[in-house]
Symmetry: C2
Subunit: 326 residues, 2 copies
């Protein structure tokens, strides 16, 4: 099977700790042939650990090198739009870290670029590749808790000033809407939408509580899906605690963890897989075998971001997600 | 010490199972001297178990008998206003079961009647007499979880068609706002207000999900207290489950149960007392010793109801509680 020649663009936390371990397991699908990073030393370090691809001083040079079929963008989120645009101009496929963009308005431009290109634009949202959410959906659709009435998701990320994400320059003064609220929140939106479908409206309070985290760091919401299921989603990126993801139906409840679902009184174990690895595999198949781009579709990523942007802008007002997507 | 001669008005579930056991323990403070009920047989049964007070065919006759200093109203909620009015006209003190009235508009008339009378109008809200909520408030004010950021209260009452409250005629076709949502909800509002202070606004979804329960039976909310604390309160009167009342602060968490508070990793036991007994004791002292009527004040009960009415009418819109109280 033909390998995709991949250029790594941005050698920050995501590329080093999330993408590279996945790509190492997928050396039959991808060959890392080129790398670039704002800080050349980071690119060189990445090159050393990844089989010595060519290190480029700039993204332009990498794109022009003829060495890459696709680029993996793991750059500050405000660069997603111009970097995707340039890749497509050069006829290069793109996989790009979530969130799709800093806000829905610029995210729509990425959707448009993707629609008008015959190259693949794949937004990497690993929660859409996490088995446990698909298992939850399957159990719900099998009627295991009756008709779903309500879901509650509380997330306590508990990052402090020593956290490497907190220390990232572009996260200290975020240009992306709500800062951590969108950076982390699009993951949660993706999981909620995967399991329950589209959110119709949200009412939310978004706050900047921690002085140590750039931008906002607390969000609490009430929302309703188009199918009438009601939910609360609350997240703090600074406070510590135990996460709880609960789904309540007319005939029972389930609690969703990463490795299991507690379904009424039973435990359903869910095998752990590397969601980043599954994501790159999917990207490969979308390019090579023409598999539909359902999971990395920029439109999906835009809907995730629209939910969060609606939360951030709600200020307690009932805010329809569709208004952001028009 | 002078005993208060008490007339029992309405011999339904509340009078029989909540008030009578408390009054039996308070025979040094109250003497049940008269009783009436829409169904005379119920009044006679109540009389037999409570030392044979005089049974009256009507509320008017009971008030005119000269046998009572105070009445205990446990009647369908739409009768609270006219029954309180008549008691005050006759110079008789009143203790009346929550909710104060069917809606805030008529509740305000009770507040006005109370203000213009030299007799006591005491709205019985036993949650304001429950030790555990006062203990939670004390621990929070002592800074045990730092600055409070968020509270989440999920309540699963789980009543089915055989439940005696569900079978009450006036609850089957409720005239009180939201049916069970206000009937049970004013308790929760009272506890939230006791611990955290006044709610500024709420956004909520109220639904009629169960065909077995009259009126609405599901509520999920997002709200903000005047002090900036954010909360979610979700209740279903039909679905079964385990209640969870959580308070999250900058330095820890607490979970509130009826008999204990789990404070970070410690368990703080809270002695159990009969909140109805404490309520009647308080009513006695307000009448006899001139203690301020803080806990049975109609204005407090009105604020509890205003929160619930705002929830019921919100339909996802940001709804300020003060608008209902103007």
């Amino acid at each position: 099977m033909k390998k995709i020649r991949l250029g790594i663009v941005g050698c920050g936390i995501a590329a080093r700790t999330l993408h590279f371990p996945a790509l190492k397991e997928l050396s039959h699908l991808f060959e890392i042939t080129a790398v670039t990073s704002r800080t050349r030393a980071h690119a060189e370090e990445f090159a050393r650990m990844s089989g010595n691809p060519v290190v480029f001083d700039s993204y332009e040079e990498l794109l022009d090198s003829g060495l890459v079929d696709a680029v993996d963008l793991a750059v500050p989120v405000d660069l997603n739009l111009p970097f995707i645009e340039r890749a497509l101009q050069k006829g290069v496929h793109v996989i790009c870290e979530k969130p799709i963009s800093t806000d829905v308005k610029t995210g729509k431009k990425i959707v448009a670029l993707s629609r008008n290109s015959n190259k693949v634009v794949y937004i990497a949202e690993n929660f859409r590749h996490a088995s446990v959410f698909w298992k939850a959906k399957e159990l719900i659709e099998a009627g295991k808790i009756g008709e779903v009435v309500y879901t509650s998701w509380q997330i306590w990320v508990g990052m402090d000033e020593s956290n490497e994400y907190v220390r990232t320059d572009w996260r200290k003064e975020p240009k992306h809407v709500g800062g951590f609220l969108s950076d982390g929140g699009v993951h949660h939106a993706a999981a909620l939408r995967l399991i329950f479908g589209e959110v119709e409206w949200v009412s939310a309070v978004a706050e900047d509580l921690s002085p140590h985290l750039g931008g906002m760091d607390f969000l609490s919401t009430l929302f309703e899906f188009e199918n009438g299921i009601v939910g609360n989603y609350t997240v703090s990126y600074s406070l510590k605690g135990e996460d709880e993801f609960e789904v309540v139906g007319t005939k029972g409840k389930m609690f969703i963890f990463w490795d299991k679902i507690v379904l009424n009184d039973d435990v359903v174990a869910v095998p752990q897989e590397d969601s980043y690895q599954r994501e790159f595999e999917d990207f490969y198949h979308v390019i090579v075998t023409g598999k539909p781009n359902n999971l990395g579709n920029p439109e999906e990523a835009l809907k995730d971001l629209a939910f969060i942007e609606a939360c951030v802008k709600s200020n307690g007002e009932k805010t329809f997600i569709s208004e952001f997507l028009l």
